[in-house]
Amino acid sequence: MDETAVEVRRRFRAAPEKVFAAFSEARWVARWLSPSPEIRLSLLQFQFREGGAYRFAYHVPGGQVMTVRGAYRLIDRPSKIVFSWVIEPPDEHAGLDSEVIVTITPDGEFTKLLIRHEKLTRPAAGARHAEGWRGALDQLAALLEQSGACHADRAS
């Protein structure tokens, strides 16, 4: 297993163009590209074109905000999107330049989505460096434990 990359795959009953739209249109991006409905995403900047920049603010319950920025390095509609993913100061990981590769593939009446987040170089000095992003994700883990029930009810 690659220690610096994660992959998530999913198959949707929707056309590739619709899955692509989820990444390319601000009105849709804001509604799903966060780890949990409790962590609200606001788009500070969104230039969906090659070389265009984005900035996403993640509002964690309790008032903490984590900001991620990057640039679209490659856009091949409707099959591939590559963008950089950099966490902003004051986070200790500011400047850690990771990359997200989105691959959208038709599969009959379905569409396969692969999200590969790579160059996630492990924080060099361990614990004390991780506070910002980890703080947000720790809250996520806690939220998942506490609020799993209400999501499950909504999903059923």
Binding site: M1, E3, T4, A5, V6, E7, V8, R9, R10, R11, F12, A14, A15, K18, V19, A21, A22, E25, W28, R31, W32, L33, S34, P35, S36, P37, L113, I115, H117, L120, R122, P123, G126, A127, A130, W133, R134, L137, D138, L140, A141, L144, E145, S147, G148, A149, H151, A152, A155, S156
Partner: protein
């Protein structure tokens, strides 16, 4: 998926499939990904496979990679719920 498993009780693949109204291969594949990421553990009782969320990896200090995995799994779960609305939108 993680939200449902986060209730803490072990769920069978069939129960999870009914919860999400998804095809069984989709559920099985998703569970396999979670299992490979070390987020979910599987127990087998006869023909029934049960899955339980492992809380420890989520809490371990420095599990930088796993935390990003959780981010994207959570995001794709949200996308799964949003796509019918995008698909129903002509301009989408």
């Amino acid at each position: 998926m993680i939200h449902v498993l986060a209730r803490g009780e072990a769920r069978s693949a069939g129960e999870l499939g009914r919860q999400f109204r998804s095809a069984q291969p989709t559920i099985s594949n998703h569970l396999k990904v979670l299992e490979q990421a070390g987020l979910v553990e599987r127990t087998i009782e006869g023909r029934i496979h049960r899955f339980r969320l492992r809380q420890k990896p989520l809490k371990e200090a420095g599990s930088w990679i796993i935390r990003h995995q959780v981010f994207w799994i959570g995001a794709v779960d949200q996308l799964d719920r949003l796509l019918p609305e995008i698909a129903g939108n002509d301009r989408g």
